[in-house]
Symmetry: C2
Subunit: 389 residues, 2 copies
């Protein structure tokens, strides 16, 4: 049986058998060398992942849960001390009932939550940085299949994800149709659209414009005085601000903030460049600050470009042909009614292209795309009736 | 009578009497010192402007045409060799008939098309740069009133504008209600919203992040080898890309570009950071390139922050109170049905707050906000019937 290694310490040691361990605690699995879809190569890919529950004897109760762009493996609290980002959805007795299902949440290839990414050191100890290969969602799925092999999961009961996680779930079905029983695609689409690409371009450019980016090799950099340089936190912050606007809705922002000034600050109070802020600016500053404290800028670029590359029809004769072959997978498609990044029409189109032309289930929320995180419970009834029966 | 000066040459000379001259040719008018709304001061403000047609004896046929954020004074070709940006709308026999009306188009305060802005030199010849005061749309209107005085226009027949030009027109009515006969506000709103402020913040931050910005004092800067530095063109380009997305619509971008690669480029073809582009990226690159070749980055910041400051109700007891006092002005409100920067609902709200509660006229276009430029002719019938009778 395959084992996982403590890659971060550089030592090879037994920790847990791959499929057994405490719930909601990060483990890592060494998958071996990997040749990327567009030509890159790395001698070793490690996948960070967490699990909840127990795999049953015939391996039929495994659920693969795919996180979104800046998400991580910590979906639910489990045995850890830290809340998960979908605690209301995954756990004992929840929609994805970890008393019944064995849930696996891998960090995406190129990420910074345990899986090999640009911040991972090479064998000489130097972070890969700009040398990290161009990565597609298909690459991510292929290395996750190695994890599935190691876990003894030939076929997932369900693969599920929202946003970029939905794209990952869909790519799983297209790449390994005989290994996916149910595929739940929430607030995602068959292929990234021109507008999603456009918003993404701006975000990657903002990071690259930051003088601290240093062409992607900013790890360990120091300033003129020898102190550690901050990295491209300003550029990453701008990227996050823009992304966050697309994750929410205009009415929500107007209702929450309007034109209010931030506390004692005065957006009109000063001549020149050091004016005070509006509340909505302070809010976006806060969103930016939170992200840059927890996310690597190179991973943000790699994953954003992976999402730009998302196209279930690439190399498969187009989306329609690719999806028409998936009659062996049961699909569940859902959208947020106010989503303006992954418009409901895009979920409707995906559903129309599927052999079963399933109905699109709707999360009703005024806040936009992020409704897939905040209001996922609205899908509880439909998911229990159709998928997690 | 006041005169205008050739400010760009630094010499004082008679050129044209203020109100007379060839149509569609830039002139400049020196307005004297000005104290800005939030406390700044400049010893001299010059307004660049163009005119078309002739002012009649009683001064009753004057139309003030206000351009948008990156617009300029060259609305119509006139006697020049260069097409104007609203040639189909302004000219002999057009909706704004220059055989009947005297049209004046001033460059906004803080701009870079003839009016004093950050790129204007001080008396020592050094561009104002970071010393340019914080500017509001109200400031712009107040200095334009001095131009109106000099032109002998006590009351405009009509003040008209779209987008930021619409905000300028509305502010004219609110600041000088007895000097505005008709006020035409197209694709604009009573006060900038949280979301408009949010998009604007990202744009100004992108410019400031550019290492070539140098705190706003990049004019005349040189690189390490002594050659002229490019200025913050990368940051300004990112700002323009984002703005441009908000000016258009998702369906338009999807229809025009989809996921197509740009010519021989391959968005998947290379590992690392030098991949090829999607068509939509090339399109945005082109939009960015066009703007940075014609617009000053500091002006972009100053005007963007002026637009953030737009609030017809500021210091007037709120929008409702401010607008309720404008019963002496005849309003014409129009919106683009697919606009997602100045949503139709915001035009509807503006109309509801006006004493006459006028109907909102619609430009029907799939492309979004820019419909106010590309499809303005759709308002021809209504404007001839109600305003330019």
């Amino acid at each position: 049986m395959s084992i996982d290694f403590d890659v971060t310490s550089g030592q090879t040691e037994w920790r847990h058998a791959v499929g057994h361990g405490p719930d909601g605690v990060l483990r890592q699995f060494r998958t071996g060398p990997y040749s990327f879809e567009t030509g890159g190569y790395l001698p070793e890919i490690v996948i960070g992942y967490e699990t909840w529950g127990e795999l049953n004897r015939d391996g039929s109760n495994a659920v693969l849960l795919e996180h979104a762009l800046t998400g991580d493996t910590h979906v639910a609290r489990g045995d850890s001390d830290t809340p998960g980002w979908w605690d209301g959805f995954v756990g004992p007795g929840k929609t994805i009932d970890t008393d019944r299902f064995f849930v696996v949440a891998p960090n995406i290839l190129g990420g910074c939550y345990g899986t090999t990414g640009p911040s991972t050191p090479d064998q000489a100890g130097r972070p890969l940085g700009s040398r990290f290969p161009f990565t597609t969602i298909r690459d991510g799925v292929r290395v996750e299949a190695r994890l599935a092999d190691a876990l003894g999961i030939r076929r997932w009961h369900t693969v599920i994800g929202g946003s970029m996680g939905g794209a990952r779930a869909l790519e799983w079905a297209a790449e390994f149709p005989d290994r996916v029983g149910n595929c739940v695609v929430i607030a995602a689409c068959a292929e990234s659209t021109a507008e999603q690409i456009a918003f993404a371009q701006i975000q990657t450019q903002s990071i690259r414009l930051d003088p601290q980016f240093r062409g992607g090799d900013y790890y360990g950099a120091t300033g003129p005085d020898g102190t550690p340089a901050p990295g491209p936190v300003e550029g990453l912050g701008i990227a996050r601000r823009l992304a966050h606007i697309t994750y929410r809705s205009e009415p929500e922002m107007d209702l929450r903030f309007g034109r209010q000034a931030q506390h004692a600050e005065d957006p009109f109070g000063s001549a020149g460049y050091d004016r005070g802020r509006y509340q909505v600016e302070s809010y976006l500053d806060h969103q930016a600050s939170k992200l840059v404290g927890r996310f690597d800028a190179n991973s943000y670029i790699v994953l954003t470009e992976a999402l730009m590359s998302h196209d279930v029809g690439r190399g498969r004769g187009g989306a329609q042909a690719a999806l028409s072959r998936l009659s062996g997978v049961r699909f569940f498609v859902a959208a947020v009614d106010s989503d303006r990044l992954y418009w409901p029409e895009q979920s409707e189109r995906l559903a129309r292209l599927l052999p079963s032309t399933p109905p699109v289930h709707y999360i009703t929320s005024p806040i936009g795309h992020d409704g897939f995180l905040t209001d996922i419970e609205q899908l509880d009834g439909a998911l229990r009736a159709e998928i997690f029966t």
